[in-house]
Symmetry: C2
Subunit: 136 residues, 2 copies
């Protein structure tokens, strides 16, 4: 069975979906990705859908599920590379990608994730620090 490769770039996992996913493939991807997040401790997942001509309700649901799984494993998911035609179809079909953040391309996605991680670190510092010295 075909698997979608998961690439690790720094503390981000990159998944490029290029073929129309069937049920088994989607399940396998969810499983692989969850395992990979646990193994690597990555804080972000970027899913690139440049290669997809169509995002139907099944793919939309799969993306939502992946985002939810990642979230409970403490990783944020960003979907990137959506084609204009896909965006139009999504809106026309009334499909909303619940709980999914999007970005224009991989670079913007990486930027978003990096900024969030930095902000998290700052927040953590505030939480850890003495309230009297850290509060403004």
């Amino acid at each position: 069975m075909e698997r979608v490769p998961i690439l690790k770039i720094g503390s981000v996992l990159l998944v490029s979906i290029q073929v129309d996913m069937q049920d088994q493939m989607a399940l396998q991807l969810q499983e692989d990705l969850g395992q990979r997040i646990v193994d690597t401790g990555c804080k972000g997942v970027i899913i690139d859908i440049t290669g997809l001509d169509i995002v139907d309700s099944f793919v939309g649901r799969t993306l939502s599920t992946i985002a939810s799984i990642s979230k409970v494993l403490d990783a944020e998911t960003i979907v990137v590379g959506m084609r204009p035609a896909v965006a139009i179809t999504l809106v026309e079909l009334g499909l909303s990608l619940d709980g999914i953040r999007t970005a224009l391309n991989v670079e913007r996605g990486l930027e978003l994730l990096t900024r969030n991680t930095e902000q998290d670190t700052i927040d953590d510092l505030y939480l850890l620090g003495d309230p009297e010295t850290t509060s403004p």
Copy 2:
């Protein structure tokens, strides 16, 4: 016709090949990639073949051609993510990936390219600088 997506990460283009390429798809990829190198001025190309179970002589030749095209466009190509089984088959078939550099995974590939680019910049500085002051 299906196209292989080309992702830009910093000054590197990333291509993840996940399906067995046919003639037309390989030609299209070569064309797209060349155009993208020209458009972006990227100095490096990483081709990920994690998703390939088999690298036959056709794919091997395609990779070599891509590397050659990139080279004349002033970009270096690194093939990453080769499976052990693929490496074994390549050797058994007597196929050598001429002119292609390989790395274990995307991260190592990025490291290699970044190091090269830095070295290039240093070399350029030496070339541009006054020979008397720059030679040791």
